[in-house]
């Protein structure tokens, strides 16, 4: 009889240890789930590139008229690209520590077309890291495999110069930053 009582005590102890092990397992599992889900970053590059394109468009034209700084004596001001960032209050030097080369994570290109020639731009300028541009022209048949490529947005709109000349404007904005947005 005594032997059985001793055995029962042992079983209770083992059962307690078992419950602690199970509790630890479940707690670990819940921790792993939360860590995996909340540890993954949100990929906001697509929206970021759209916002960049819209800000560029705002800087180019207002109320349907292209900013007068884009023209000098009726022709395009070729130096507008050099100080476009300052003009639009763009500051791309806020991101640091990307990759081994600390490369700029942005690129944008603006092209102006006349109605006479819609294939070749009458004027264009660009800024940022042009290496990202190639990512825009890769056909992304399966998005999962191309998730680390830069996100691109192309916007087109119509505006007039101060003299009333019609121009078609194409903006390509590209955001790299895959290290921050994709795990």
């Amino acid at each position: 009889m005594n032997k059985y009582i001793k055995d029962k005590r042992g079983t209770d102890k083992i059962l307690s240890i078992y419950w602690f092990v199970i509790l630890t397992l479940i707690a670990g599992g819940v921790f792993a789930m939360v860590y995996v889900f909340y540890g993954a970053p949100y990929d906001v590059r697509e929206i970021e590139s759209e916002i960049l394109a819209e800000k560029i468009a705002d800087c180019i034209s207002s109320k349907g008229i292209i900013d007068s700084e884009f023209f000098i004596d009726g022709t395009f001001n070729t130096k507008i690209g050099e100080n476009f960032n300052e003009k639009c209050n763009f500051n791309f030097n806020v991101e640091e520590g990307y990759g081994d080369t600390n490369e700029v994570q942005y690129f944008y290109e603006v092209e102006f077309y006349t109605l006479e020639d819609l294939a070749n731009p009458a004027f264009n300028f660009y800024n940022g890291n042009s290496n990202w541009e190639a990512d825009c022209f890769i056909k992304k048949e399966n998005d999962k495999e191309y998730v680390k490529l830069a996100k691109c947005t192309e916007k087109r709109f119509y505006a007039l110069s101060g003299e009333g000349n019609q121009y078609l404007i194409k903006i390509l904005s590209v955001i790299g930053k895959s290290e921050k947005n994709v795990k």
Binding site: L25, A32, E54, A57, G64, F157, Y158, L160, G164
Partner: protein, 84 residues
């Protein structure tokens, strides 16, 4: 002998229960891995009926000044590099 059978039976119950708990946990962890890969904020403009296209509004304002060659302009705007 009979006591031993009961012990073995009870042990198997606990072993199976443990395996079920572990399998369930693994399923939930795998599901959270899949869910974490869907964390992407995309533009809602295409889907929302209340969307407002800021860039398109610029074109519309320009049309109010001069809308000659509207069809040609619309054709060009509707194209993208993918189509060209």
């Amino acid at each position: 002998m009979l006591n031993k059978k009961a012990q073995v039976g009870e042990s198997i119950t606990w072993v199976v229960a443990t395996i079920i708990v572990i399998v369930l946990l693994l399923i939930f962890i795998y599901a959270s891995i899949l869910l974490s890969k869907t964390k992407s904020l995309e533009s809602s403009k295409e889907n929302s009926e209340y969307s407002f296209d800021w860039i398109n509004s610029k074109t519309q304002i320009a049309y109010s000044i001069n809308d000659s060659n509207k069809n040609k302009i619309e054709d060009w705007i509707s194209k993208s590099n993918k189509d060209e």
